[in-house]
Subunit: 182 residues, 2 copies
DNA sequence: TAGTTTGTACAGAAAAAACTGTACAAACAA
DNA sequence: TTGTTTGTACAGTTTTTTCTGTACAAACTA
C-alpha cells in the first residue's frame, strides 16, 4: 500500500469513530464525519469543499455545519480574499466538551426546574384546601415529597454545570499534556 | 377543576418534561413517559400495568423497559405472590446520573482511544520509512500531532469518568437536601 | 401431564428523520 | 444597473426508527 493511502486510512479510522460516537452530542453520523474531516483538514473549509470531500449535497452541508456550530464544535473562520463562508473545528476540545455539557444540560435543568416548581406550588395549594378527600391528600403529599427530591436533584445538576463552566472541573480532573515529556 | 384532575395535571407536566428531555440519555420520549409514569407510581409496575397506563402495546413496553434498564434508570423489583415481572424507578437519581455518564462516555472513550492508538502507531511507522516523499511526511507529522492531542483529550475524559464513578464529583459539587431545613 | 400465563422475537405498518434538488433572496462584481 | 455567486428555505424522496400484532418459547399452575 502506498504512503498516501496509509495516511488516508489512518485518518478515516478516527473520523469514522467520531461519526459513530457523535450521537452523544445529539448529532448525526454524517455531521460527525463532517466534523472529523474538518479536523484533519488544515485549512478552514467552505461548504463547497465539504460537498466535494464528503459527496453530499450542499444543503446537507449547510444544515449540519449549523448544527455543529450550535454546539460550538465548529466556528466561522476568515481569510482575506475568500468570499465564501469558511468553517473550522474549534481547537480546544476540553472547552468544547464543557460548552456542550453546558448547552445540553442547562437547558434541560431549566425546563425541569420550571415544571417542578409549578407542579409543586399547585400541589402545595391543593393539600391546604379543607374540602378534599383524605385519600387524595395522602397521594398529593407523596407527590410533593417526590417533587422536592427532584428540585434538589436539578439544583445539584445546575451546580454541576456551574462547576464545568467555571473551569472548576479542571481542578478535580487536570488536563495533562503528554508532549511535555518529550 | 376537581382535586384528582389537578393532581393528575401536576404529574403530567413533570412527566412530559422528562419525556422531552430524556434524549440526553439516548432514549425516546415514549421511554421517558414510561419512566415518568413509573416514578409517580408508588408500587412497582408490570408490563401490563404500563400497557394500560400508557395505552401502548406490550411489545413496546417490553423493549423500552429494557432500554431503561440498560442505562440503569429502572430496575427489577420483587413482590411476593406476584408472578409477573415488576419494575420500578431507581431511587437514587444522583447515582443514575453517574451511571449514565459512565456507561455512555466510557464506551465512547474506549472506542476513540483504540482508533487513535492504532492510527498513531501506523503513522509513526510511516514517517520512519526512508522512501516516502517529503510532502507526505509533513502531512503525516501534522496528523500525528493531532492524534496526540486527541489521545490526551480522551485520557482526560477517561479520568473525568473515573471522578464521577469514584464519587469524587460529589466533593466538588455536594448534594444538598432542602428538606433538612424544615 | 395438559392448560395457562407471561415476555419477547420477528415481520410489517406507521411515523420520524435525514437527505436531495429546486428556487430564490442576499451579497457581491462589473 | 445587470449578471454572478453563495447560502438556505422548502417540498418531496429516501432511509431509519418506532410501534404494533402475531407467534411462540419458557415458566408457572393444577
Amino acid at each position: 500500500m502506498v504512503g498516501k493511502e496509509r495516511l488516508e486510512k489512518a485518518r478515516e479510522r478516527v473520523i469514522e469513530t467520531i461519526a459513530q460516537n457523535i450521537h452523544l452530542y445529539g448529532l448525526t453520523p454524517s455531521a460527525g464525519r463532517q466534523f472529523g474531516t474538518m479536523y484533519f483538514h488544515d485549512e478552514p473549509m467552505t461548504l463547497d469543499d465539504m460537498t466535494e470531500e464528503l459527496g453530499m449535497s450542499k444543503t446537507s452541508m449547510s444544515t449540519s455545519v449549523r448544527a455543529l456550530s450550535n454546539v460550538k464544535l465548529v466556528e466561522r473562520a476568515w481569510k482575506r480574499g475568500v468570499r465564501k463562508d469558511l468553517y473550522q473545528v474549534t481547537d480546544d476540545w476540553y472547552q468544547s466538551f464543557v460548552d456542550l455539557f453546558s448547552i445540553k444540560w442547562r437547558r434541560s435543568v431549566s425546563l425541569h426546574t420550571n415544571a417542578v416548581r409549578r407542579s409543586l406550588t399547585e400541589l402545595e395549594e391543593l393539600v391546604k384546601e379543607p374540602d378534599i378527600s383524605e385519600e387524595l391528600k395522602i397521594e398529593a403529599k407523596a407527590d410533593i415529597e417526590k417533587l422536592r427530591y427532584l428540585r434538589d436533584y436539578y439544583d445539584w445538576l445546575d451546580r454541576l454545570v456551574d462547576a464545568f463552566e467555571d473551569q472548576e472541573i479542571f481542578n478535580l480532573v487536570p488536563i495533562k499534556n503528554s508532549s511535555i515529556d518529550k
